[in-house]
């Protein structure tokens, strides 16, 4: 029973990581940059949703949509102002800029919302209390159920989007070969903007889900989940959508199991240790493509 509880907790945490990792992976795939500000977009999404419900009295779903809209705009603005001027100058320069953006978002949030943590009201609080099974031996929260379902839904939608739609195909083309895509008449700039928009909208969803399950909301809320999700994206093979999903869920499960069965002190060590071992065996992640350098 404890095992099942832990498994469900792990799946739920992993699903949040998976959604964040999806955003990471898409942005990486198309712009080959590690967007360290992604975690902070999550935080902004959660704050917007919090403001929507707490200050404006909006229904939960409206505030989520609002958060997605704001984050989408934020993603496009960040890409346009901070990353676009550095496109094609090597990933390190953009990496540092992304860190600058991350500092900026955290400190801006600090000024706007203060450092006192806010308690996020779960968007599923209207569903009533959690599901109790086996005479209360096993409790499953609605957050856990929905987080997992939403993560799967998002993955399916994203896979369909990238394989079926024109925009999605354009994204894949750009991530494959930026220059060739341009020659084929694809508007690379708008495609990359679109990717950031989608990634940021996903981040907003992830922020809401994250804070629904773990309700303390502060300006640094997104930082650690951001790093974990980045780990998850690499774990699954960065650039691969199913890989991000798999990596996210595995990292979540390993983290919770490590904490429950091995050592709470070293749970991060276990997560990162597993990552290292996997990468040594499979240097491009679980579902990553093997890259062969042409000579």
């Amino acid at each position: 029973m404890i095992f099942l509880t832990n498994l469900i907790n792990g799946l739920s945490l992993g699903s949040v990581y998976a959604i964040i990792a999806l955003g990471y992976t898409m942005v990486y795939g198309i712009s080959k940059m590690l967007n360290f500000a992604h975690g902070d977009v999550i935080m902004v999404g959660a704050y917007i949703s919090f403001c929507g419900t707490s200050y404006l009295g909006l229904p939960a779903w409206v505030s989520v949509v609002l958060a997605m809209a704001v984050c989408t705009a934020l993603g496009i603005i960040i890409e346009g102002l901070a990353y676009r001027p550095l496109r094609g100058t090597g990933s390190l320069a953009v990496l540092i800029t992304a860190i600058g953006v991350s500092y900026f978002l955290q400190n801006a949030a600090l000024l706007i919302w203060g450092s006192a943590p806010k308690v996020f009201t779960s968007v599923f609080s209207g569903m009533g209390s959690s599901i109790r099974l086996f005479d209360g031996g096993l409790t499953v929260t609605w957050e856990a159920v929905f987080t997992l379902l939403i993560a799967i839904l998002i993955m399916i939608l994203m896979t369909m989007f990238t394989t079926r739609t024109k925009m999605g195909k354009a994204m894949r083309a750009v991530s494959e070969d930026n220059g060739a895509a341009r020659l084929m008449g694809i508007n690379v700039n708008s495609t990359i903007s679109m990717t950031f928009a989608i990634g940021s909208a996903l981040a907003a969803v992830a922020g809401v889900l994250l804070c629904s399950a773990y309700p303390a909301l502060m300006p640094t809320t997104g930082a650690m989940p951001g790093i974990k999700a980045f780990t998850a994206a690499v774990f699954g093979g960065i650039g691969s959508i199913p890989g991000a999903m798999l990596g996210g869920i595995l990292i979540g499960v390993i983290e919770v199991f490590g904490r429950a069965y091995i050592s709470t002190e070293l749970s991060d060590t276990i997560v990162f240790g597993v990552l290292i071992i996997v990468l040594l065996v499979k240097p491009t992640g679980l579902l990553g493509k093997k890259i062969t350098e042409k000579v």
Partner: protein, 394 residues
């Protein structure tokens, strides 16, 4: 080639010199602007460091606001000198705290109030000990703060002290309960209390059924720890942690239908003021805190009212600590017979002698506080229980 190289070299060197010069002048000009007023009237420069930005700025700002109310009260009263209070940001980081302390030095600090957080305070205390500056911290509770430093004092309880008292309280209230603890193993405050708590419990022949830890990140998942406590059958769970993770723990416990008695310490104070927090989750939580804003005590009520008028919110324990600390500095300074034109070292020695020599202070965080030579405070802990979204005496 050579000429151009020399040119480049010169440009680099010049810019470097300018950076240093700017930094040097920037510091000194800040100091001189304030020192001019000294001739007009006697001013005591009280400097503080604490987190004013970053994740812990909540605590720093609370201390700052509390201390400012005290300073205003003092300055409004009939005194021979005015208190000039300045707080510099240290982001709760030891390195930044030392930087902040040096900025205060340039400003002409005479007595240090702080630092707010333990890590910063230990770092600053190392400096003030060498510089012979009197330091008293409102809220840095680790025993490392005062260890081996005769010039550093605490207004709050030390961590081991709290852990010990918590253990005794629990043993007294729940002699037969199975006791567990969830603590942050990368936080000195949390670990300090836990270690003392565990030692005291074991000294009384009681083993903890579970001691779950979590690493230092803000939005972690505590379900594994709660599951462990639950399956160990713990009835009392000690939470020697800050209120942010505690709020998540309370929620997750409620979600999984686990309802032990949670026993928190002063770090939990503030949980009721969290925006959006469902206070019903905290019903029945026991809390050991020196400050109860709902108390009937006249002094407390007056402070709470002033604080609310000034900042529009209820003061928490950190604000109260800041308020008391400022008064302790003021009273000790007077008791020691110091004047503002004395050197820092003279002030320090006189104040140390005064505070340990039978000085007693009644503040909002405790009556009859006295200090021993090791720097720790002696005052009575108060255990309250949360009921109807308020602290109530047990």
């Amino acid at each position: 080639m050579k000429k151009e190289f020399m040119k480049k070299f010169a440009v680099v060197m010049l810019s470097l010199v300018m950076v240093f010069a700017m930094a040097a002048c920037g510091g000194s000009s800040g100091g001189s602007s304030d020192s001019g007023s000294e001739s007009a009237e006697a001013v005591l420069y009280v400097g503080a460091t604490g987190p004013l930005t970053g994740g812990a700025s909540f605590y720093g700002n609370a201390v700052k606001q509390g201390a400012m109310i005290a300073a205003e009260e003092i300055n409004a009263s009939e005194t021979e000198f005015r208190i000039e209070f300045r707080m510099e940001d240290d982001e709760a980081d030891g390195e930044k705290a030392v930087n902040a302390y040096h900025v205060l030095q340039d400003w002409g600090v005479q007595v240090v109030l702080g630092s707010v957080t333990t890590g910063s305070c230990v770092a600053v205390a190392g400096e003030t000990f060498e510089d012979r500056v009197f330091e008293i911290t409102p809220s840095a509770s680790s025993s490392d703060v005062t260890n081996g430093k005769d010039n550093v004092f605490q207004v709050c309880f030390t961590d081991p002290n709290q852990g010990k008292t918590a253990a005794n309280t629990i043993l007294e209230l729940y002699p037969d309960a199975k006791v567990a603890a969830i603590y942050n193993n990368s936080d000195p405050y949390s670990t300090g209390i836990f270690n003392a708590f565990k030692a005291e419990m074991e000294a009384n022949g009681k083993e903890l059924v579970e001691a779950a830890t979590y690493p230092d990140d803000t939005n972690a998942d505590y379900s594994a720890q709660l599951t462990a406590c639950k399956s160990a059958g713990a009835d009392v769970v000690l939470l020697p942690i800050y209120y942010t993770p505690a709020s998540v723990i309370l929620k997750q416990a409620a979600d999984m239908g686990y309802e032990p008695t949670f026993f928190g310490l002063d770090g939990l104070d503030g949980i009721l003021d969290m925006e959006g927090f469902d206070t019903s989750l905290a019903e029945g939580v026991m809390l050991m805190t020196p400050f109860n804003p709902w108390s009937d005590d006249a002094k407390v009520a007056e402070f709470v009212k002033k604080y609310q008028d000034a900042y529009g919110e209820l003061p928490n324990q950190f604000a109260a600590d800041g308020y008391d600390t400022m008064y302790v500095i003021y009273e000790t300074f007077k008791a020691a017979g110091c004047t503002t034109d004395m050197s820092n070292e003279e002030i320090c020695d006189a104040m140390v002698a005064a505070i340990t020599g039978g000085f007693s202070y009644d503040g909002v965080t405790g009556e009859g506080m006295t200090w021993s030579t090791d720097g720790t405070v002696s005052k009575d802990p108060v255990v309250v229980v949360i009921k109807d979204g308020q602290y109530q005496d047990r």
